[in-house]
C-alpha cells in the first residue's frame, strides 16, 4: 500500500498476483473494502486480466513494429511525465488524478518495455530459426515419376493416363 497516498497503488497488482502475504495483504484487502476508487480499479484490473487471458492468439499486422516503435517514443515522453507525476505522488498534497496518471504512465512504460523485449526476442528467434522457403509441388513431374516407378502391373492402364495432358496451374 502506498503510505503517502493512503491507497493501494502498486500493491494492487502484487495482491492480485498473490505476491502479498500476511499483514500487507490484510491491509490491502481492508483498504479495498473501504475505498471505492481502489475497489473500482481492482475490479477493472481483474476484468482486464480475465479478458487478456481469454483472448485468442492474434498475428500482428505487418506494420505492427513500425507503430510499436512510434508508440515507444511516445511512451518515453510519457515516462518523463511519469517522473513528474511521481514527484507529485510523493508530495503530501498530491491529488488522486495525478496518482492515476502516474500509475498509467508506469503501466504504459512497463508494457512498452515488455513489448520491446518480446520484439527483440522475436527478432532473434526469427533470424535464427530455420527458414521455410515457399514450395509449390511440381504435380505433373510427380505424376510422371510415380507412373514410371510403378513397374509391376498392366503397362497400358499404368502408363496411358500419364501422357494425357492435364494442366495443374493455379
Amino acid at each position: 500500500m502506498t503510505a503517502a497516498s493512503g491507497h493501494v497503488g502498486d500493491a494492487l497488482s502484487a495482491l492480485l498476483d498473490g505476491e502479498l502475504h500476511g499483514p500487507e495483504a490484510e491491509a490491502a484487502r481492508a483498504h479495498l473494502a473501504s475505498c471505492a476508487m481502489c475497489a473500482a480499479e481492482s475490479i477493472a484490473v481483474t476484468q482486464a486480466r480475465s479478458w487478456l487471458r481469454s483472448l485468442p492468439p492474434v498475428e500482428p499486422p505487418a506494420d505492427f513494429y513500425v507503430r510499436l516503435f512510434a508508440d515507444d517514443a511516445d511512451d518515453a515522453n510519457d515516462a518523463g511525465d511519469g517522473g513528474d507525476a511521481r514527484e507529485a505522488h510523493d508530495a503530501p498534497d498530491a491529488t488522486v488524478t495525478s496518482l492515476v496518471v502516474s500509475r498509467r504512465s508506469r503501466v504504459r512504460a512497463g508494457v512498452a518495455a515488455m513489448a520491446a523485449c518480446a520484439a527483440a526476442t522475436g527478432v532473434v528467434l526469427g533470424l535464427v530459426s530455420p527458414h521455410d522457403s515457399p514450395t509449390t509441388p511440381p504435380v505433373t513431374r510427380f505424376i510422371e515419376a510415380h507412373a514410371t516407378a510403378v513397374g509391376d502391373g498392366d503397362p497400358v492402364s499404368q502408363l496411358a493416363p500419364a501422357v494425357v495432358p492435364v494442366a495443374f496451374r493455379p
Partner: protein, 351 residues
C-alpha cells in the same frame, strides 16, 4: 516388370510410325471398333488368371505385338473428361502417345518425349524393387457373370476386384491372351470414376517395335538404400522402394493393387501457387488438397517443415488415411511454431 529388367541393354526411340487405324465415333464410345486379326497371341497363355490379372496382362503385353487406340476417361470436380491415345507394343517394347509420348523398354527403362522433341529418361531400369504385397491379402479377385463381354470387338473375361465386399475394379481381359483391354476403377460410392479401354486393337506379329531415341537426358531417380519412412502404412500399404530426384525424396508403397508415391520437399506450402480446382480435405489437424489426374489422385499437404505430395491410383479415402498416418519429419513443437511465427513477423521488416 521392374523386377525382371535389371541390367538389360536398351534400344532408343528415334521416330514413331504413325498408326493406320480406323477411328470409331470417339472416346467413351464403348467396346466397339474394327476387329483385328488374332496376331501373335500365344495359345494357352495366362488367360483368366483370376488371382493376378495384372501380371497376366503384363506377360501378354511383353510377348504380343499390337497397335491400338486407348480411351482414357476420368472424373474430377469439374466433370467428366476423356482423351484418346495411341498404343503400340512389340518385342517387349511399349509406347503410348498422347499429349506426350511415353516409352517403356523391355529392360524397364522408361522415357518421355517432351513437346519440344527432346527425350528424357525417367527410369533407368537398373533398380530392382522389392516384392510387392500379395494382391489377395487385401482384395478378392473373382470372375464376373455374365462373361464374356466384347471390348474392341474381342471377347473378354470379366474379373472383379473387391475390398471387403466393395467393388473397386472391373477388369476386361482378352479371352484369348489375357491382355487387359478395359479397366474400370470405382470410387468409394460405387461410381465408375476412371476407365482405360481399348476402342481399337490390332494384334499383328508384323508390327514393328517402337524405335528408341538416339539421345536422352537422364532424369532418372537415384535409388536410396535407406530412408526414414514407415515400412507399413494404413490400408495395407507396404514400403517397396525409395528414390531421390532433384532433391525430392519419393517413397513408393503398394497394397498389391494400387501403388502410392509419397514425395517429400523441405519448405512451406505456397498455397497461392496451388492449382485452383483442388478439393479440400482434412489431414489430421491440418488440411490438404486433392487433385484428380487421369490415372488417380494427388493429395498435397504441409506439416512441419515439409510439403508432402501423395500420388496414387487408389481412392481418395485411402489416400487421406495414409496421409494422416504419415509422421511429420519435424517442426511441429511449440518452440518450432514460435520460431515460425517470429519469422513471419520479422520477414516483412527485413524485406
Amino acid at each position: 516388370m521392374r523386377a525382371s529388367v535389371a541390367g538389360c541393354a536398351f534400344v532408343l526411340l528415334v521416330s514413331v510410325p504413325a498408326p493406320a487405324l480406323a477411328v470409331p465415333a470417339g472416346p467413351g464410345a464403348g467396346p466397339t471398333g474394327s476387329a483385328g486379326p488374332t496376331g501373335s497371341a500365344t495359345p494357352g497363355g495366362t488367360v483368366g488368371d483370376a488371382q493376378n490379372p495384372f501380371e497376366a496382362s503384363r506377360q501378354a503385353a511383353d510377348r504380343l505385338s499390337f497397335i491400338g487406340l486407348v480411351d482414357v476417361t476420368w472424373d474430377d470436380t469439374t466433370g467428366s473428361h476423356s482423351d484418346r491415345l495411341t498404343v503400340q507394343a512389340s518385342g517387349g517394347s511399349f509406347q503410348v502417345q498422347g499429349g506426350a509420348t511415353l516409352m517403356a523398354e523391355p529392360g524397364g527403362a522408361t522415357m518421355v518425349r517432351r513437346p519440344a522433341g527432346d527425350w528424357d529418361l525417367l527410369w533407368s531400369g537398373t533398380a530392382d524393387s522389392a516384392s510387392r504385397p500379395d494382391l489377395s491379402a487385401k482384395y478378392e479377385v473373382t470372375p464376373s457373370q455374365p462373361s464374356p463381354t466384347q471390348v474392341a470387338s474381342r471377347p473378354t473375361n470379366v474379373v472383379e476386384v473387391r475390398q471387403s465386399g466393395a467393388l473397386r475394379e472391373r477388369l476386361f481381359l482378352d479371352a484369348e491372351n489375357g491382355l487387359l483391354l478395359r479397366r474400370e476403377q470405382l470410387d468409394q460410392t460405387g461410381h465408375v470414376a476412371r476407365v482405360v479401354a481399348f476402342s481399337v486393337i490390332d494384334l499383328d506379329p508384323q508390327i514393328a517395335a517402337p524405335v528408341t531415341p538416339a539421345r536422352l537426358s537422364d532424369h532418372s531417380p537415384q535409388r536410396l538404400s535407406s530412408v526414414a519412412a514407415p515400412v507399413v502404412l494404413p490400408e495395407g500399404y507396404r514400403r517397396v522402394d525409395a528414390y531421390r530426384e532433384q532433391g525430392v525424396v519419393q517413397v513408393l508403397y503398394s497394397d498389391g493393387l494400387y501403388d502410392l508415391s509419397v514425395f517429400e520437399q523441405r519448405g512451406g506450402l505456397a498455397g497461392a501457387d496451388l492449382p485452383a480446382k483442388g478439393e479440400k480435405v482434412g489431414v489430421g489437424t491440418g488440411k490438404g488438397w486433392v487433385y484428380a489426374w487421369p490415372g488417380g489422385q494427388v493429395l498435397v499437404w504441409h506439416r512441419g517443415h515439409t510439403v508432402y505430395s501423395l500420388v496414387s491410383e487408389a481412392p481418395v479415402d485411402q489416400l487421406v488415411a495414409v496421409a494422416k498416418a504419415l509422421p511429420s519429419t519435424g517442426g511441429s513443437s511449440l518452440v518450432d511454431r514460435m520460431r515460425r511465427v517470429c519469422r513471419s513477423l520479422v520477414e516483412p521488416i527485413a524485406a
